[in-house]
Amino acid sequence: MISDEVLLQQIGNGDSKAFGSLFERYKKAVFGLALHMMGAAALAEEVAQETWVSVVKEASAYTGRGAVKSWIFAMTRNRCLNELKKRKWEQPMEEDQLNNLPAEEISDPAEYLSELQEDLKEAILLLPDKQRCAVVLSLHEENSLSDIAKHMDMKVNAVKATLFRAKQNLKELLIQKKTARGGIK
């Protein structure tokens, strides 16, 4: 398999096939990260498109410091944060979103864990912008509190408080989802 670095170098030379290969490798990850940071598919797609445009534009300027994957994720993350800051962290959590969670049957433990992950992903999408971004930055790249504060232009204590509220909301959302399935009585 051709390495990401070689593919990026070929993209810098204008190789369409190389771009196709790199895009296939990371399209789900880039879109997924954008989706969980932006909270909406339409916005996420816009960010993902811009990220891939940047990949092609900046391919020649890639210095080789750090993995290509991390480089692409950093571009996605920064673009999302810029968009969210422009919107001034709008989109508060809506009550009807909490009440309209889809109910599903639990079959076995493995599937339950898998579903729990899916539930978590869905629950993250329902968080307000700031909480959602803080959670994604914390989970996705395992950023420290100070890194999250730096990325989000916030103070460390404010990030702590945001993450605390996010966890409370996630807990509540997951309980609601389980209750809707009949898992908790």
């Binding site: 369409s16 399209k27 997924g32 993902a48 992903k121």
Partner: protein, 137 residues
């Protein structure tokens, strides 16, 4: 499943086409830029090679000239050396003692000089010149 994979999501329909539509012209730009860079690099390489060839030619030419000069000098020196050993080279002027010449003033040659018959008329002319009465024209 890593934490990063946790966030992977299926892309919406048509996402690939939309992305490819946007990056297509940019890839073309990259191709053109790359071609131009390659051409410039080739030109520079060719120029450098030409420069190196010129330098090599100059170096060889200069080297040949120097070698030829040394050759000529060597030939000249060897020719001069071959001319050594002539009659003059055998003379040792430093050790030549002029005072060691045995000049015999009483020899027949000296005796044969007729001092009396020597022409002293020029001395008369000199006396006439000293006489201011004679006007020199």
């Amino acid at each position: 499943m890593s934490r990063k994979d946790l966030f992977e999501s299926d892309v919406p329909p048509g996402h690939e086409d939309r992305v490819l539509h946007r990056v297509g012209p940019l890839l073309k730009e990259n191709r053109l830029a790359n071609r131009q860079t390659n051409q410039e690099t080739n030109q520079q390489t060719n120029g450098l090679l030409r420069g190196r060839r010129s330098f090599a030619a100059f170096f060889l030419g200069a080297g040949s000239l120097v070698m030829a000069s040394f050759g000529l000098l060597y030939l000249r020196n060897s020719t001069t050396d071959s001319q050594k050993g002539g009659p003059l080279d055998d003379l040792n002027f430093a050790s030549f003692d002029f005072f060691d010449l045995d000049l015999d003033l009483d020899s027949d040659i000296v005796a044969e000089l007729d001092w009396e018959q020597s022409d002293d008329s020029w001395m008369d002319d000199l006396e006439l010149i000293e006489d201011e009465s004679i006007e020199i024209v």
